[in-house]
Amino acid sequence: MQPDEQLPRYLDSGRLVRLLTFVILAVGAAAMVLPFVWMVSTACKPSAELNRLPIHWLPEQAACLENLQQLYQTSEEFNHYLVNSVVLTVGRTLGQLLTCSLAAYGFARFRFPGRNLLFTLCIGLLLVPFQAIVLPEYLLIRQLGWRNTFAALIVPGTFSAFALFLLRQAFLQIPLDLEEAAQLDGANPLQVLAYITLPLSVPALAAFAVITIQAAWNDFLYPLIVTTSAATRPVTIGIALLQGERNTPFNLIMMGSLLATLPILILFVLLQRYFIAGVTTTGLK
């Protein structure tokens, strides 16, 4: 990403334009970040300061810890929600890493009858919005007796057409010679995958991981239909419930969403290079 970068100096059409560009971008970026700032600021305001006019950006008496405490008094299960989200996210990500890297390797490197048809069908699933199958999905989970279980939250999420596509693309980039050399040395396909292909696909694996983690952590509709108790509900539902209680003050709701947002924001800032690479190769997130 370096368009004008190598332009000869005499072609640079002036600092003024660049300054203007910078200012416009800065104002835009401020507008994008403002909701986050407002969230943090509100999360630390004592309830008395919420309904005071004119509005002020910084809490006069910071009450971050008090609000955190109160959040846990209002919603005793909040820790459950966070833990459930972690379990759901880790389970799905590890599961997809296993099933999808096997499948991606199979589709990328082996010939068998019906391969292209099967691959097309798998990828075709990407065209189906989850909303369109939410009802039969619920009926299936109910039939399996999986409502309110981690099996429901994790197992269906361990199969993914998106990860299959992303990883297959990555595996196809790896030079065949390396894999063939290992094969001649007597490695079986699983060993080749584990010791050659996967270690050479670290950037794609990072893209896969950060996109999958993000999607799992933020999932709402699916957990909404298969869970009814705090024992399995993830944090997205936790904050929606807080909000649904009409008299929960907004400082507690903001504290809740801060807790739900922070882990994913940190992860993104650390791994954004891979996230963006994944988004641009697939056009999906």
Binding site: M1, D4, L7, T21, F22, G28, M32, L34, P35, F36, W38, M39, T42, L50, L53, I55, T99, G106, F107, F110, F112, P113, L125, L127, V128, P129, Q131, A132, I133, V134, L135, P136, E137, Y138, L139, T158, S160, L164, P189, Q214, N218, F220, L221, I239, A240, L242, Q243, G244, R246, F250, M254, G256, T261, I264, L265, F268, Q272, V279, G283, K285
Partner: protein
């Protein structure tokens, strides 16, 4: 004869023992994911076709009713209201979002101090959960004490009931959608901008083309495949709006007063899970499915034409 048939069958897997062994490995490797996808996603798709032809509320046994659910759909004012709301959201959010994203991408696509930081900041809302985003914007749109109201206070709009007035509720929903989508579209545009050969700009600069001329005659036409992709993906996204509606109306009336914020996805949820009308909800699901499929196929076909067009040009 039988031996011949067996041989024929084996040959499908390859003509040498080694090739056959590799074919079996391949099948074994793809099996878990393929079966899982079929069971948890393929089956439900098939099931929703089947369910849409039934009258079924989960209590009494399902009854086959043919296309009755679809007939009811087209005369149901709730369905048309939801369809209209979805279209309105699309019309509010997609053009504004795409134009803003294009603008930001073009400004970002040059040598600039802090470029990467800007890109990160614009992208942050994309990774935030829609639920958390909607909760924060609900607070921002609160009358009297909310941020928007106070920004608009000089116009006397501080007490505007954004979230309860049926004629206004779609605006906050659209704003969250744009805010969460912009960084994603921006990244796609940035990738598209990378594919434009720099030499075209250098030639244009030497010929004395102004910035605007370069934008009009080089950037815009060569970026058009990306622009189209972004448009279609945003439209598809707009057709699936659910979380925002659920969260932003949960303090007042779910789905908005008088269904004013009910989108197709929300109506589907409500029919299926609140009213337990499985057949009817499946009919809505199929409408959603085919609308989105239509846009996707349209996009894929046109994209192919574009690629061809480009290669003929160069």
């Amino acid at each position: 004869m039988r031996v011949f048939a067996l041989n024929h069958f084996l040959n499908l897997f390859g003509h040498t023992p080694l090739a056959r062994r590799r074919a079996l490995w391949g099948i074994a490797l793809i099996l878990p994911n393929t079966l899982g996808l079929f069971f948890f996603f393929g089956l439900p798709i098939l099931a929703s076709f089947f369910t849409s032809l039934q009258d079924w509320n989960g209590l009494k046994p399902a009854k086959f009713v043919g296309l009755e659910n679809f007939a009811r759909l087209f005369t149901d004012s709730n369905f048309w209201q939801a369809f209209g709301n979805t279209l309105k959201l699309m019309v509010f959010s997609v053009p504004i979002g795409v134009v803003l994203a294009l603008g930001v991408a073009i400004l970002l696509n040059q040598r600039l101090p802090g470029r990467n930081i800007f890109r990160t900041l614009y992208f942050l809302p994309v990774v935030t959960s829609t639920v958390a985003a909607s909760v924060v914007w609900t607070w921002i749109f609160q009358p009297r004490y909310g941020l928007i109201g106070n920004l608009l206070a000089p116009l006397g709009l501080r007490d505007l009931q954004w979230l309860t007035r049926p004629d206004l509720i779609l605006i906050p929903v659209a704003v969250v959608t744009i805010w969460q989508r912009l960084g994603f579209d921006m990244v796609l545009f940035l990738a598209g901008l990378q594919t434009i050969p720099r030499i075209l700009y250098e030639a244009a600069i030497i010929d004395g083309a102004t910035r605007w001329q370069r934008f009009r005659s080089i950037t815009l036409p060569l970026l058009s495949p990306t622009t189209f992709l972004v448009f279609v993906l945003s439209i598809i996204n707009a057709f699936q709006i659910f979380d925002q509606v659920y969260v932003m109306t949960s303090r007042t009336t779910l789905g908005g007063a008088g269904g004013s914020a009910t989108t197709l996805a929300y109506l589907l949820y409500k029919s299926g899970f609140t009213n337990s009308e499985f057949g009817y909800a499946s009919a809505i699901a199929l409408v959603l499915f085919f609308v989105i499929l239509g846009f996707t196929v349209f996009q894929l076909r046109l994209q192919r034409r574009w690629v061809y067009y480009e290669s003929r040009e160069s």
